[in-house]
Amino acid sequence: MTATCRLPCCASPRRTVSELLDRGLRRNRAAPLPHEGAQLGDADGNAARFSIDVRGATIADVVFRMTSCATLVAYGELIAETVAGMRVELANGLTARDLADALPGVPALKRDRAMLAVAAFRSALSKVSTNGKQS
């Protein structure tokens, strides 16, 4: 039986809002990828747009452009880190509830940001067919 390595070099990055935000703000400045979804918004003036790179039927990379709401960017980063390497049809099953459950510490009033993030991500997914070609 092999124990899981807990050394900092091997450990998975922590998934707190604050740490996802730090990584997400870097991803938020990255150049768009080939399959770009629509920019979606909410009543609070937030906006989100994802773009995806696909190799075969697998998501190779995800970037986004979002308004600088900390919660929204953290949810966006959580999506990007979760779906990297995932098959497109599996990623399409990701829900706002999944995000909310995976990221404790977000007050109830801010959890609706997960819905915007997932909707924007699905918009990008809709531009990708399962064989990796733009629809």
Binding site: V17, S18, G105, V106, P107, A108, L109
Partner: protein
């Protein structure tokens, strides 16, 4: 005159200026200005934690006098206290603060 306070420094702004000046004056209804909002940065957000004794008094007086209390969202997330604040106390950033104050705008914003 309507004022909003932004607690931006961490030296004595909460334990002294808020807890020993502003809050007692609000409780005694002799502060001299109508406080419409308070926004908290950095470690000042700990005053908004449930069971904080200063926060308990502040939360009570805020409900009685219609004072908006809001914590900086990134500050609270960084300290992992965003979901541990007094009930009804939101977190947010400047757009949320301005939106929340838009129905009762202060004449002066005072940074402490």
């Amino acid at each position: 005159m309507k004022v909003a306070y932004i607690f931006a420094t961490s030296r004595h702004s909460v334990s002294y200026v808020l807890a020993k000046m502003i809050l007692p004056q609000l409780e005694e209804k002799r502060h001299g200005a109508t406080v419409v909002g308070m926004f908290f940065f950095e470690d000042n957000n700990y005053v908004l934690l449930k069971d904080n004794p200063i926060g308990a008094r502040l939360h009570k007086i805020a409900k009685e006098q219609g004072i908006l209390l809001m914590g900086c969202d990134q500050c609270c997330y960084e300290r992992e206290i965003a979901d541990k604040l007094y009930d009804g106390v939101p977190i947010g950033c400047f757009p949320d603060l301005y939106k929340a104050l838009s129905g009762n705008m202060p004449d002066q914003v005072i940074t402490l």
